[in-house]
Protein backbone atom coordinates (compact mmCIF):
# COMPACT_ATOMS: atom_id res chain seq x y z
CA UNK A 1 0.00 0.00 0.00
CA UNK A 2 2.68 2.48 0.89
CA UNK A 3 4.59 3.81 -2.06
CA UNK A 4 7.43 1.36 -2.15
CA UNK A 5 9.67 3.25 -4.48
CA UNK A 6 11.05 6.71 -3.68
CA UNK A 7 9.00 9.81 -3.11
CA UNK A 8 5.22 9.59 -2.85
CA UNK A 9 3.08 11.50 -5.36
CA UNK A 10 2.11 14.97 -4.24
CA UNK A 11 -1.51 15.55 -3.21
CA UNK A 12 -3.15 18.94 -2.90
CA UNK A 13 -5.81 19.50 -0.27
CA UNK A 14 -7.89 22.62 -0.97
CA UNK A 15 -9.55 24.32 2.00
CA UNK A 16 -12.60 26.56 1.60
CA UNK A 17 -11.50 29.05 4.26
CA UNK A 18 -8.40 30.38 5.98
CA UNK A 19 -6.56 28.13 8.43
CA UNK A 20 -8.77 28.01 11.52
CA UNK A 21 -9.89 25.41 14.07
CA UNK A 22 -12.46 23.81 11.73
CA UNK A 23 -9.38 22.52 9.83
CA UNK A 24 -7.32 21.70 12.94
CA UNK A 25 -7.25 17.96 12.29
CA UNK A 26 -5.98 18.47 8.75
CA UNK A 27 -3.08 20.58 9.94
CA UNK A 28 -2.40 18.06 12.71
CA UNK A 29 -2.54 15.04 10.38
CA UNK A 30 0.69 12.99 10.23
CA UNK A 31 0.63 12.67 6.43
CA UNK A 32 4.32 11.69 6.16
CA UNK A 33 3.85 8.82 8.58
CA UNK A 34 1.19 7.48 6.21
CA UNK A 35 3.55 7.72 3.25
CA UNK A 36 1.95 10.85 1.83
CA UNK A 37 3.13 14.19 0.53
CA UNK A 38 0.22 16.58 1.07
CA UNK A 39 0.18 20.30 0.39
CA UNK A 40 -2.65 22.15 2.16
CA UNK A 41 -4.00 25.06 0.09
CA UNK A 42 -5.78 27.64 2.27
CA UNK A 43 -8.86 29.22 0.72
CA UNK A 44 -11.08 32.23 1.25
CA UNK A 45 -14.62 33.43 0.69
CA UNK A 46 -16.08 31.57 -2.26
CA UNK A 47 -13.13 29.28 -3.02
CA UNK A 48 -14.82 26.82 -5.41
CA UNK A 49 -13.31 23.67 -3.89
CA UNK A 50 -15.96 21.39 -5.33
CA UNK A 51 -15.16 22.57 -8.85
CA UNK A 52 -11.43 22.42 -8.14
CA UNK A 53 -11.75 18.75 -7.20
CA UNK A 54 -13.77 18.04 -10.36
CA UNK A 55 -11.31 19.93 -12.54
CA UNK A 56 -8.35 18.15 -10.96
CA UNK A 57 -6.67 21.33 -9.72
CA UNK A 58 -6.75 19.73 -6.28
CA UNK A 59 -6.88 15.98 -5.65
CA UNK A 60 -8.66 16.50 -2.34
CA UNK A 61 -10.71 19.32 -0.92
CA UNK A 62 -13.06 20.45 1.80
CA UNK A 63 -16.71 20.81 0.83
CA UNK A 64 -20.06 20.74 2.57
CA UNK A 65 -22.42 17.83 2.02
CA UNK A 66 -25.08 19.92 0.26
CA UNK A 67 -22.51 21.38 -2.10
CA UNK A 68 -21.37 17.88 -2.95
CA UNK A 69 -24.87 16.61 -3.72
CA UNK A 70 -25.62 19.58 -5.97
CA UNK A 71 -22.27 19.11 -7.72
CA UNK A 72 -23.07 15.45 -8.37
CA UNK A 73 -26.41 16.42 -9.88
CA UNK A 74 -24.51 18.69 -12.29
CA UNK A 75 -22.30 15.84 -13.43
CA UNK A 76 -19.33 16.64 -11.20
CA UNK A 77 -18.36 13.27 -9.73
CA UNK A 78 -17.19 14.18 -6.22
CA UNK A 79 -17.19 11.68 -3.34
CA UNK A 80 -17.11 12.37 0.41
CA UNK A 81 -14.48 10.50 2.42
CA UNK A 82 -14.52 11.96 5.93
CA UNK A 83 -17.09 14.23 7.59
CA UNK A 84 -15.53 16.41 10.28
CA UNK A 85 -18.70 18.08 11.58
CA UNK A 86 -21.29 15.41 12.21
CA UNK A 87 -23.82 18.10 13.05
CA UNK A 88 -24.09 21.24 11.00
CA UNK A 89 -22.48 24.13 12.91
CA UNK A 90 -24.30 26.76 10.84
CA UNK A 91 -26.69 28.97 12.70
CA UNK A 92 -28.23 32.39 12.93
CA UNK A 93 -27.27 34.71 15.73
CA UNK A 94 -29.37 37.57 17.03
CA UNK A 95 -29.06 40.00 19.92
CA UNK A 96 -30.19 38.32 23.15
CA UNK A 97 -31.87 41.59 24.15
CA UNK A 98 -34.54 40.96 21.51
CA UNK A 99 -35.78 37.93 23.50
CA UNK A 100 -36.51 35.89 20.38
CA UNK A 101 -37.86 32.38 20.84
CA UNK A 102 -37.12 30.75 17.48
CA UNK A 103 -35.66 31.25 14.01
CA UNK A 104 -39.14 32.24 12.88
CA UNK A 105 -39.05 35.21 15.27
CA UNK A 106 -35.74 36.38 13.75
CA UNK A 107 -37.54 36.71 10.42
CA UNK A 108 -40.29 38.94 11.77
CA UNK A 109 -38.38 42.23 11.65
CA UNK A 110 -35.00 43.93 11.25
CA UNK A 111 -32.14 42.82 9.03
CA UNK A 112 -30.75 39.35 8.38
CA UNK A 113 -27.35 38.87 6.73
CA UNK A 114 -27.40 35.55 4.92
CA UNK A 115 -26.03 33.82 1.81
CA UNK A 116 -29.31 33.52 -0.03
CA UNK A 117 -28.08 30.83 -2.38
CA UNK A 118 -27.51 28.36 0.45
CA UNK A 119 -30.13 25.62 0.70
CA UNK A 120 -31.00 26.37 4.32
CA UNK A 121 -31.60 30.01 3.44
CA UNK A 122 -34.16 28.90 0.91
CA UNK A 123 -35.70 26.42 3.33
CA UNK A 124 -36.16 29.31 5.74
CA UNK A 125 -37.61 31.47 2.98
CA UNK A 126 -40.03 28.73 2.02
CA UNK A 127 -41.08 28.06 5.60
CA UNK A 128 -41.37 31.60 6.96
CA UNK A 129 -41.03 33.97 4.01
CA UNK A 130 -38.69 36.97 3.91
CA UNK A 131 -41.43 39.60 3.66
CA UNK A 132 -40.85 41.21 7.02
CA UNK A 133 -37.08 41.05 7.27
CA UNK A 134 -34.53 42.85 5.10
CA UNK A 135 -32.16 40.19 3.79
CA UNK A 136 -28.65 41.43 2.96
CA UNK A 137 -25.48 39.62 1.83
CA UNK A 138 -23.48 37.83 4.50
CA UNK A 139 -20.43 39.82 5.60
CA UNK A 140 -18.44 36.61 6.12
CA UNK A 141 -16.96 36.47 9.60
CA UNK A 142 -17.25 40.24 10.11
CA UNK A 143 -19.58 41.17 12.96
CA UNK A 144 -19.24 44.97 12.97
CA UNK A 145 -22.67 45.61 11.47
CA UNK A 146 -24.16 43.17 13.98
CA UNK A 147 -22.56 44.98 16.91
CA UNK A 148 -23.88 48.36 15.83
CA UNK A 149 -27.47 47.39 15.14
CA UNK A 150 -29.64 45.58 17.68
CA UNK A 151 -32.10 44.49 14.99
CA UNK A 152 -29.34 42.94 12.88
CA UNK A 153 -29.05 39.13 12.79
CA UNK A 154 -26.54 37.14 10.76
CA UNK A 155 -25.59 33.66 9.69
CA UNK A 156 -22.71 32.24 11.69
CA UNK A 157 -20.72 29.23 12.68
CA UNK A 158 -22.24 28.64 16.10
CA UNK A 159 -18.82 28.24 17.70
CA UNK A 160 -17.21 31.21 16.05
CA UNK A 161 -19.00 34.57 15.54
CA UNK A 162 -21.10 34.29 18.74
CA UNK A 163 -17.87 34.07 20.77
CA UNK A 164 -16.54 37.20 19.03
CA UNK A 165 -19.76 39.04 19.77
CA UNK A 166 -19.66 38.07 23.45
CA UNK A 167 -16.05 39.25 23.64
CA UNK A 168 -17.22 42.57 22.23
CA UNK A 169 -19.72 42.78 25.07
CA UNK A 170 -22.89 41.84 23.19
CA UNK A 171 -25.01 39.01 24.54
CA UNK A 172 -26.29 36.82 21.71
CA UNK A 173 -28.86 34.12 21.16
CA UNK A 174 -27.91 31.48 18.59
CA UNK A 175 -30.38 29.43 16.55
CA UNK A 176 -28.74 26.38 14.94
CA UNK A 177 -29.96 25.69 11.42
CA UNK A 178 -30.35 22.04 12.47
CA UNK A 179 -33.38 23.29 14.47
CA UNK A 180 -35.39 23.55 11.25
CA UNK A 181 -34.42 19.99 10.38
CA UNK A 182 -31.60 20.81 7.98
CA UNK A 183 -28.44 19.10 9.14
CA UNK A 184 -25.90 18.26 6.40
CA UNK A 185 -22.39 17.04 7.18
CA UNK A 186 -20.05 20.04 7.13
CA UNK A 187 -16.30 20.43 6.56
CA UNK A 188 -16.24 17.21 4.56
CA UNK A 189 -13.06 15.83 3.01
CA UNK A 190 -13.83 14.86 -0.59
CA UNK A 191 -12.13 13.68 -3.74
CA UNK A 192 -13.15 12.99 -7.32
CA UNK A 193 -14.56 9.65 -8.38
CA UNK A 194 -11.75 9.35 -10.93
CA UNK A 195 -9.05 9.94 -8.31
CA UNK A 196 -10.68 7.43 -5.97
CA UNK A 197 -10.78 4.84 -8.72
CA UNK A 198 -7.25 5.34 -10.00
CA UNK A 199 -5.56 5.45 -6.58
CA UNK A 200 -7.83 4.10 -3.82
CA UNK A 201 -4.77 3.47 -1.65
CA UNK A 202 -3.91 7.14 -1.52
CA UNK A 203 -7.48 8.07 -0.50
CA UNK A 204 -7.41 5.45 2.26
CA UNK A 205 -4.06 6.70 3.51
CA UNK A 206 -5.29 10.31 3.54
CA UNK A 207 -8.37 9.36 5.51
CA UNK A 208 -6.30 7.38 8.01
CA UNK A 209 -3.91 10.32 8.45
CA UNK A 210 -6.79 12.78 8.81
CA UNK A 211 -8.47 10.58 11.41
CA UNK A 212 -5.20 10.45 13.39
CA UNK A 213 -4.93 14.21 12.96
CA UNK A 214 -8.39 14.89 14.33
CA UNK A 215 -7.83 12.52 17.25
CA UNK A 216 -4.64 14.41 18.09
CA UNK A 217 -6.23 17.82 17.63
CA UNK A 218 -9.23 16.98 19.82
CA UNK A 219 -6.90 15.74 22.55
CA UNK A 220 -4.43 18.62 22.39
CA UNK A 221 -5.11 21.45 19.94
CA UNK A 222 -2.35 23.70 21.28
CA UNK A 223 0.64 22.91 19.02
CA UNK A 224 -1.50 22.90 15.86
CA UNK A 225 -3.23 26.12 16.89
CA UNK A 226 0.16 27.82 17.20
CA UNK A 227 1.04 26.70 13.70
CA UNK A 228 -2.31 27.77 12.20
CA UNK A 229 -2.11 31.11 14.00
CA UNK A 230 1.20 31.78 12.21
CA UNK A 231 -0.55 31.12 8.89
CA UNK A 232 -3.62 33.15 9.87
CA UNK A 233 -2.47 35.86 12.28
CA UNK A 234 -5.75 37.77 11.95
CA UNK A 235 -7.31 35.26 14.37
CA UNK A 236 -5.74 35.54 17.80
CA UNK A 237 -4.41 32.53 19.63
CA UNK A 238 -6.95 32.73 22.44
CA UNK A 239 -9.76 32.58 19.88
CA UNK A 240 -8.15 29.48 18.33
CA UNK A 241 -8.20 27.74 21.72
CA UNK A 242 -11.75 28.82 22.45
CA UNK A 243 -13.20 27.72 19.10
CA UNK A 244 -11.32 24.43 19.19
CA UNK A 245 -13.00 23.68 22.51
CA UNK A 246 -16.46 24.86 21.42
CA UNK A 247 -16.52 22.78 18.22
CA UNK A 248 -15.76 19.46 19.96
CA UNK A 249 -19.38 18.36 20.49
CA UNK A 250 -20.10 18.78 16.76
CA UNK A 251 -17.17 16.56 15.81
CA UNK A 252 -16.94 13.88 18.43
CA UNK A 253 -20.30 12.12 18.28
CA UNK A 254 -19.05 8.61 17.59
CA UNK A 255 -16.48 7.26 15.16
CA UNK A 256 -14.62 10.27 13.75
CA UNK A 257 -15.54 11.11 10.19
CA UNK A 258 -17.98 8.25 9.55
CA UNK A 259 -21.13 8.88 7.53
CA UNK A 260 -24.44 7.05 7.01
CA UNK A 261 -26.54 6.53 3.89
CA UNK A 262 -29.65 7.64 5.80
CA UNK A 263 -28.22 11.10 6.50
CA UNK A 264 -27.24 11.52 2.84
CA UNK A 265 -30.67 10.32 1.71
CA UNK A 266 -32.40 12.84 4.00
CA UNK A 267 -30.28 15.63 2.54
CA UNK A 268 -30.98 14.51 -1.03
CA UNK A 269 -34.71 14.53 -0.25
CA UNK A 270 -34.52 18.08 1.11
CA UNK A 271 -32.53 19.39 -1.87
CA UNK A 272 -34.87 17.65 -4.30
CA UNK A 273 -37.83 19.26 -2.56
CA UNK A 274 -36.20 22.66 -3.08
CA UNK A 275 -35.92 21.80 -6.76
CA UNK A 276 -32.12 22.05 -6.73
CA UNK A 277 -31.52 18.49 -7.84
CA UNK A 278 -33.43 15.58 -9.34
CA UNK A 279 -34.53 12.91 -6.85
CA UNK A 280 -32.48 10.35 -8.78
CA UNK A 281 -29.20 11.10 -6.98
CA UNK A 282 -28.16 7.99 -5.06
CA UNK A 283 -27.14 8.36 -1.41
CA UNK A 284 -24.61 5.54 -1.53
CA UNK A 285 -22.76 7.18 -4.46
CA UNK A 286 -22.14 10.32 -2.43
CA UNK A 287 -19.73 8.93 0.13
CA UNK A 288 -17.24 6.22 0.96
CA UNK A 289 -16.39 5.39 4.58
CA UNK A 290 -12.78 4.27 4.91
Amino acid sequence: MLAACGKPAKSRLALNWKPDPQFGGFYAAPFQKHGLDVEILPGGAGTPTVQMIGAGSAEFGIVSADELVVARSRGNDVVALFAVFQNCPQGIMAHASRHLGSIGDVLKEGTLALQRGLPYARILEKKYGFDHVKVVPSPGGDISAFLRDEKFAQQCFVMSEPLQARHAGVDVKVFPVADVGYNPYTTVLATSGAQLKSDPGRAAAIVAAVRDGWRAYLDDPKPTNTRMHELNPSMDIAAFAEVAEAQKPFIETGDLGMMTAERWATLIGQLAELGDIPQSIQAQDCFRNM
Binding site: G54, R74, G75, Q115, R116, G117, V136, P137, D142
Partner: protein, 250 residues
Protein backbone atom coordinates in the same frame (compact mmCIF):
# COMPACT_ATOMS: atom_id res chain seq x y z
CA UNK B 1 -23.96 45.41 -42.52
CA UNK B 2 -20.33 45.84 -43.45
CA UNK B 3 -19.79 47.54 -40.11
CA UNK B 4 -21.34 44.74 -38.07
CA UNK B 5 -19.88 41.78 -39.92
CA UNK B 6 -16.31 41.95 -38.58
CA UNK B 7 -17.25 41.74 -34.86
CA UNK B 8 -19.99 39.19 -35.62
CA UNK B 9 -17.63 36.60 -37.09
CA UNK B 10 -15.51 36.00 -33.96
CA UNK B 11 -18.71 35.92 -31.88
CA UNK B 12 -20.27 33.19 -33.98
CA UNK B 13 -17.06 31.19 -34.23
CA UNK B 14 -16.36 31.31 -30.48
CA UNK B 15 -19.97 30.53 -29.55
CA UNK B 16 -20.13 27.52 -31.85
CA UNK B 17 -16.73 26.25 -30.73
CA UNK B 18 -17.73 26.55 -27.07
CA UNK B 19 -21.03 24.79 -27.68
CA UNK B 20 -19.24 21.96 -29.44
CA UNK B 21 -16.58 21.65 -26.72
CA UNK B 22 -19.17 21.35 -23.96
CA UNK B 23 -21.49 19.02 -25.88
CA UNK B 24 -18.68 16.69 -26.85
CA UNK B 25 -17.65 16.48 -23.19
CA UNK B 26 -14.26 18.10 -23.82
CA UNK B 27 -15.03 20.68 -21.15
CA UNK B 28 -17.36 19.69 -18.26
CA UNK B 29 -20.50 21.83 -18.10
CA UNK B 30 -20.02 22.55 -14.38
CA UNK B 31 -16.86 24.51 -15.25
CA UNK B 32 -17.96 26.28 -18.44
CA UNK B 33 -21.61 26.33 -19.46
CA UNK B 34 -22.67 25.74 -23.05
CA UNK B 35 -23.84 28.95 -24.77
CA UNK B 36 -27.23 27.30 -25.26
CA UNK B 37 -27.47 26.73 -21.47
CA UNK B 38 -26.65 30.39 -20.85
CA UNK B 39 -29.35 31.41 -23.30
CA UNK B 40 -31.81 29.14 -21.53
CA UNK B 41 -30.82 30.61 -18.16
CA UNK B 42 -31.42 34.08 -19.62
CA UNK B 43 -34.90 33.12 -20.79
CA UNK B 44 -35.90 31.06 -17.75
CA UNK B 45 -34.93 33.83 -15.33
CA UNK B 46 -35.88 36.79 -17.47
CA UNK B 47 -38.00 38.55 -14.87
CA UNK B 48 -35.47 38.22 -12.08
CA UNK B 49 -32.63 39.23 -14.43
CA UNK B 50 -34.54 42.18 -15.87
CA UNK B 51 -35.25 43.54 -12.39
CA UNK B 52 -31.60 43.05 -11.41
CA UNK B 53 -30.40 44.65 -14.64
CA UNK B 54 -32.56 47.72 -14.00
CA UNK B 55 -31.07 48.17 -10.53
CA UNK B 56 -27.49 47.67 -11.69
CA UNK B 57 -27.98 50.00 -14.66
CA UNK B 58 -29.39 52.75 -12.47
CA UNK B 59 -26.55 52.47 -9.95
CA UNK B 60 -23.83 52.30 -12.62
CA UNK B 61 -25.30 55.28 -14.49
CA UNK B 62 -25.59 57.43 -11.38
CA UNK B 63 -22.07 56.49 -10.28
CA UNK B 64 -20.75 57.22 -13.76
CA UNK B 65 -22.56 60.55 -13.96
CA UNK B 66 -21.19 61.56 -10.57
CA UNK B 67 -17.65 60.60 -11.49
CA UNK B 68 -17.97 62.53 -14.76
CA UNK B 69 -19.11 65.70 -12.99
CA UNK B 70 -16.71 65.40 -10.07
CA UNK B 71 -13.83 64.16 -12.23
CA UNK B 72 -14.05 67.07 -14.67
CA UNK B 73 -14.47 69.58 -11.83
CA UNK B 74 -11.43 68.21 -10.01
CA UNK B 75 -9.37 68.25 -13.21
CA UNK B 76 -10.30 71.90 -13.82
CA UNK B 77 -9.22 72.73 -10.28
CA UNK B 78 -5.95 70.81 -10.67
CA UNK B 79 -5.18 72.50 -13.98
CA UNK B 80 -5.65 75.96 -12.50
CA UNK B 81 -2.22 76.05 -10.88
CA UNK B 82 0.95 74.01 -10.73
CA UNK B 83 0.98 74.26 -6.93
CA UNK B 84 -2.56 72.88 -6.51
CA UNK B 85 -1.73 70.11 -8.92
CA UNK B 86 1.40 69.16 -6.95
CA UNK B 87 -0.53 69.25 -3.70
CA UNK B 88 -3.61 67.26 -4.75
CA UNK B 89 -2.81 65.04 -7.72
CA UNK B 90 -1.23 62.27 -5.61
CA UNK B 91 -4.53 61.95 -3.76
CA UNK B 92 -6.41 61.59 -7.01
CA UNK B 93 -4.10 58.71 -7.86
CA UNK B 94 -5.32 57.11 -4.64
CA UNK B 95 -8.67 56.48 -6.33
CA UNK B 96 -6.97 54.48 -9.04
CA UNK B 97 -5.13 52.23 -6.66
CA UNK B 98 -7.82 51.70 -4.04
CA UNK B 99 -8.66 47.98 -3.93
CA UNK B 100 -12.42 48.34 -4.10
CA UNK B 101 -13.04 44.80 -2.91
CA UNK B 102 -11.18 45.62 0.31
CA UNK B 103 -13.02 48.82 1.12
CA UNK B 104 -16.45 47.72 -0.11
CA UNK B 105 -17.40 46.34 3.35
CA UNK B 106 -16.62 49.78 4.77
CA UNK B 107 -18.95 51.37 2.22
CA UNK B 108 -21.76 49.32 3.74
CA UNK B 109 -20.91 50.75 7.15
CA UNK B 110 -20.86 54.31 5.80
CA UNK B 111 -23.81 54.15 3.42
CA UNK B 112 -25.83 51.15 4.58
CA UNK B 113 -27.08 48.22 2.51
CA UNK B 114 -28.52 48.97 -0.90
CA UNK B 115 -28.26 51.52 -3.68
CA UNK B 116 -26.07 54.19 -2.02
CA UNK B 117 -23.26 51.73 -1.39
CA UNK B 118 -23.45 50.44 -4.96
CA UNK B 119 -23.35 53.97 -6.41
CA UNK B 120 -20.40 54.88 -4.17
CA UNK B 121 -18.50 51.81 -5.34
CA UNK B 122 -19.17 52.64 -9.02
CA UNK B 123 -18.09 56.23 -8.41
CA UNK B 124 -14.83 55.38 -6.65
CA UNK B 125 -13.52 53.03 -9.31
CA UNK B 126 -14.54 55.18 -12.27
CA UNK B 127 -13.45 58.69 -11.27
CA UNK B 128 -9.69 58.43 -11.80
CA UNK B 129 -9.60 57.98 -15.59
CA UNK B 130 -11.88 61.02 -15.89
CA UNK B 131 -9.55 63.16 -13.76
CA UNK B 132 -6.36 61.95 -15.44
CA UNK B 133 -7.56 62.29 -19.04
CA UNK B 134 -9.34 65.60 -18.51
CA UNK B 135 -6.26 67.03 -16.82
CA UNK B 136 -4.01 65.94 -19.68
CA UNK B 137 -6.44 67.50 -22.13
CA UNK B 138 -6.68 70.78 -20.24
CA UNK B 139 -2.90 71.03 -19.96
CA UNK B 140 -2.15 70.37 -23.61
CA UNK B 141 -3.91 73.32 -25.19
CA UNK B 142 -2.07 74.63 -28.25
CA UNK B 143 0.29 77.36 -26.89
CA UNK B 144 -0.21 79.48 -29.99
CA UNK B 145 -3.98 79.57 -29.44
CA UNK B 146 -3.49 80.34 -25.75
CA UNK B 147 -1.24 83.26 -26.70
CA UNK B 148 -3.89 84.46 -29.09
CA UNK B 149 -6.52 84.44 -26.34
CA UNK B 150 -4.14 86.32 -24.04
CA UNK B 151 -3.40 88.87 -26.71
CA UNK B 152 -7.07 89.64 -27.04
CA UNK B 153 -7.31 89.97 -23.26
CA UNK B 154 -9.63 86.98 -22.67
CA UNK B 155 -10.26 86.21 -18.99
CA UNK B 156 -9.16 82.79 -17.60
CA UNK B 157 -12.83 81.79 -17.39
CA UNK B 158 -13.47 82.61 -21.04
CA UNK B 159 -10.25 80.86 -22.04
CA UNK B 160 -11.40 77.77 -20.17
CA UNK B 161 -14.88 77.66 -21.66
CA UNK B 162 -14.05 78.74 -25.21
CA UNK B 163 -10.64 77.23 -25.71
CA UNK B 164 -9.20 74.82 -23.20
CA UNK B 165 -12.33 72.80 -22.50
CA UNK B 166 -13.33 72.23 -26.14
CA UNK B 167 -9.73 71.43 -27.03
CA UNK B 168 -9.64 68.85 -24.23
CA UNK B 169 -12.85 67.12 -25.36
CA UNK B 170 -11.17 64.22 -27.20
CA UNK B 171 -9.17 63.33 -24.08
CA UNK B 172 -12.15 63.82 -21.79
CA UNK B 173 -14.17 61.42 -23.91
CA UNK B 174 -11.36 58.87 -23.83
CA UNK B 175 -11.46 59.11 -20.04
CA UNK B 176 -15.21 58.59 -20.07
CA UNK B 177 -14.89 55.50 -22.27
CA UNK B 178 -12.53 53.89 -19.77
CA UNK B 179 -14.66 55.06 -16.84
CA UNK B 180 -17.91 53.68 -18.28
CA UNK B 181 -16.70 50.08 -18.12
CA UNK B 182 -15.20 50.60 -14.69
CA UNK B 183 -18.48 52.02 -13.38
CA UNK B 184 -20.24 48.78 -14.29
CA UNK B 185 -17.53 46.72 -12.56
CA UNK B 186 -17.73 49.00 -9.52
CA UNK B 187 -21.50 48.61 -9.36
CA UNK B 188 -21.30 44.80 -9.50
CA UNK B 189 -18.61 44.68 -6.80
CA UNK B 190 -20.71 47.01 -4.67
CA UNK B 191 -23.66 44.70 -5.13
CA UNK B 192 -21.69 41.70 -3.90
CA UNK B 193 -21.45 43.45 -0.55
CA UNK B 194 -24.44 45.78 -0.55
CA UNK B 195 -26.96 43.41 -2.08
CA UNK B 196 -29.39 43.77 -5.00
CA UNK B 197 -28.85 43.81 -8.75
CA UNK B 198 -26.79 41.60 -11.01
CA UNK B 199 -24.02 41.32 -8.41
CA UNK B 200 -26.44 39.70 -6.03
CA UNK B 201 -27.69 37.34 -8.76
CA UNK B 202 -24.09 36.29 -9.49
CA UNK B 203 -23.40 35.76 -5.80
CA UNK B 204 -26.47 33.58 -5.28
CA UNK B 205 -26.03 31.61 -8.51
CA UNK B 206 -22.40 30.94 -7.61
CA UNK B 207 -23.41 29.54 -4.23
CA UNK B 208 -25.89 27.27 -6.01
CA UNK B 209 -23.22 26.18 -8.51
CA UNK B 210 -25.38 27.55 -11.34
CA UNK B 211 -22.58 28.49 -13.74
CA UNK B 212 -25.10 29.03 -16.53
CA UNK B 213 -26.91 31.68 -14.50
CA UNK B 214 -23.62 33.30 -13.45
CA UNK B 215 -22.70 33.67 -17.11
CA UNK B 216 -26.17 34.94 -18.00
CA UNK B 217 -25.79 37.72 -15.42
CA UNK B 218 -22.22 38.46 -16.53
CA UNK B 219 -23.45 38.68 -20.12
CA UNK B 220 -26.01 41.30 -19.09
CA UNK B 221 -23.34 43.24 -17.21
CA UNK B 222 -21.21 43.27 -20.37
CA UNK B 223 -24.20 44.43 -22.38
CA UNK B 224 -24.61 47.30 -19.93
CA UNK B 225 -20.93 48.21 -20.29
CA UNK B 226 -21.25 48.09 -24.08
CA UNK B 227 -24.33 50.30 -24.02
CA UNK B 228 -22.54 52.93 -21.93
CA UNK B 229 -19.52 52.70 -24.22
CA UNK B 230 -21.79 53.17 -27.23
CA UNK B 231 -23.38 56.20 -25.62
CA UNK B 232 -19.99 57.86 -25.17
CA UNK B 233 -19.06 57.03 -28.75
CA UNK B 234 -22.27 58.66 -29.91
CA UNK B 235 -21.54 61.82 -27.92
CA UNK B 236 -18.00 61.74 -29.24
CA UNK B 237 -19.19 61.49 -32.86
CA UNK B 238 -21.67 64.32 -32.39
CA UNK B 239 -19.23 66.71 -30.73
CA UNK B 240 -15.99 65.94 -32.54
CA UNK B 241 -17.15 65.18 -36.06
CA UNK B 242 -16.66 68.72 -37.32
CA UNK B 243 -13.10 69.20 -36.23
CA UNK B 244 -11.24 66.28 -34.74
CA UNK B 245 -9.30 63.74 -36.78
CA UNK B 246 -10.35 60.77 -34.60
CA UNK B 247 -13.97 61.03 -35.75
CA UNK B 248 -13.36 62.10 -39.34
CA UNK B 249 -11.47 59.16 -40.75
CA UNK B 250 -14.36 56.71 -40.43
Amino acid sequence: MRKFLPPLIPFVVITLALEWMVRSGLVPSYLVPAPSAVLRALLDNREELAAAMTKTSAAALIGFALSTLAGVAIAVLLSSSRAIQRALYPYAVFFQTVPIIAIAPLLVIWFGYGMKTVVASAFIVSIFPVIANTLTGLLSTDPALRDLFRLYGASPAITLVKLRFPAALPQILTGLRVASGLAVIGAIVGEFIGGEGLGSVVDIARTQQRVDKVFAAVLLASALGLALFGLINLISALTLRRWHASEQLQ
